[in-house]
């Protein structure tokens, strides 16, 4: 797979393997990320793996885009892109009001009933593809193509933490009150911030995730326990 290189201002290089999400492209992203972090080229500060591309942030005093492009091409030769399966995690979701303001809209956009949308969501096999957007936001692949809907044209503000949101083939559980342009279909009481200094976030990239449906009462009792009420 031959990537496309794109300069990002003076200080980063974006290495893109595909236009659309696909397992091959993500395999390359993860493998290249591992190879680079194992042996950081001179001047590289950080790498940020995403769905189809890897951002390489560097110090423009020490290196530049074309030097790095050359180095990355040598990393790409003989790269092992075999996917390594991570741990299985179960996340509980309550799909009831007031936690699912967009369930109706997703149902009408996809021609399903609300329950059909929920069943399709529960049937998905999810993988943690990357962290992004905000602290602890783990992007999951695996939303059933029956319920894939595009982003909204503009983001909605003040979306509560714990919201389960979808856009296209992606799903995530929000960890903060933040704006989002994705469709909000439920709320999870599960904690993504573990509170453990050595392992501050629940997911590792590559983990497998399944969702379990809970009702409002169960949600309240779990959320109540977590907050010590």
């Amino acid at each position: 797979m031959k990537p496309q290189f794109k300069a990002v201002a003076d200080h980063a290089l974006l290495v893109t393997f595909a236009d659309q999400i696909c397992e091959d492209a993500h395999g390359y992203v993860i493998a290249l990320d591992k190879a680079i972090t194992a042996q950081l080229p001179e001047g590289v500060i950080e790498t940020v793996p995403a769905l189809v591309n890897l951002l390489i942030d560097f110090d423009p005093i020490m290196t530049d885009h074309s030097i790095l492009e050359g180095k990355i091409n040598t990393y790409l030769e003989g790269l092992n892109t075999h996917r390594i399966l991570g741990a299985q995690r179960c996340i509980q979701v309550c799909y009831e009001a007031p936690f699912a303001p967009d369930l109706e809209a997703v149902a009408s956009a996809t021609g399903l009933t609300k329950d059909g949308v929920i069943k399709a969501h529960l049937a998905g096999e999810f993988h943690v593809l990357m962290y992004g957007f905000a602290p602890g936001y783990a992007y999951l692949s695996g939303v059933s193509d029956k319920i894939q809907v595009p982003r909204k044209p503009a983001a909605v503000r003040e979306v509560p933490a714990g919201s389960v949101i979808i856009a296209g083939p992606q799903c995530l559980i929000t960890t903060l009150t933040m704006p989002t342009g994705w469709s909000i279909i439920g709320r999870s009481p599960s904690r993504i911030f573990t509170g453990e200094p050595e392992h501050p976030f629940l997911f590792d990239i590559g983990d497998r995730v399944n969702f379990e449906r809970i009702d409002l009462n169960t949600f309240d009792s779990i959320a109540g326990m977590a907050s010590g009420v």
């Binding site: 300069a7 201002a9 200080h11 950080e46 995403a50 951002l55 962290y131 982003r151 992606q170």
Partner: protein
Amino acid sequence: MRYGVSASGPMDRLAFDAAHAALGNEPGLTAIEVSLGGLSLVCARGCISVAITGGDFIVEHEGQKTNSWTVLTLTQGEKLSIRAGKEGSWAYLAFAGRLKVDGWLGSQATHTTSGFGGSSVRSGQSLVIFDAGTREERLGEIPSPGFATAGPVRVVAGPQDQYFSKDTFTKFASAKYVVTEAYDRMGMRLNGPKLNFEDALSIPSEPIVRGSVQVSGDGVPTVLLADHQTTGGYPKIATIISCDTDRLAQFRAGQSLHFMPISSKQAVDEVRQYNALKTEYIGRISVPRGTFEQRLMRENLIHGYIHE
């Protein structure tokens, strides 16, 4: 950024570095970022020198009014206030000592949207400074960095400029944009010609950097700044070069700007030149100028020399 946490830190990194340099502090210590809301504090105990930099804020200390870019000493019972002045959105208050703060993930910076990290200063809060000292040989005005020029905000096209037509990109590069009230540490929404694009609402979420100019589905560009989200699915038409993001961060609502596209190679050259000037400047202001008496003596000597 790999766990979705932006690097955060000061909105204007040059002013922040200058505040520490002017006190002879090691670079990267914690300082307080003051927004347009201002800050006032009372020295409750002891005696400490502080540096104030960034923008053009009004600094009031014991009835004496100066502007930001100054070093002064606070003694017990004295009041210091920093208020929005003629221009600038962010001022920095650094201490001759170490500010006691909590850290997160090895940093004392504050991620404002989550509240993680060093945290924000609240009304009534006490600040504790370890190893507080005075820097009598450093008091007075700090020369402001003249090299941070006005002029257009320089950008490199992309990384998602392919979703925009040539005409739209030309519009972006030639039009005047105005900073709106929707401006905080996450980003700055701009008012100006709409930048429409096609078929990009389902692009895979891609990494974002400080300075990304992201265009939402309604065609409105937003510049993402220190507490930016680390990825996003809206296309980024261009990215502001690192030295110009600090300058832009000092803009206020209502101020206007133009973007100027340059090549990535030019961007690296510009940033290297800027960095050389910044290093020279920081080096220059970190040298103590002597106590008031020493400076008086030196100036008298020169005065005498001219007359002879």
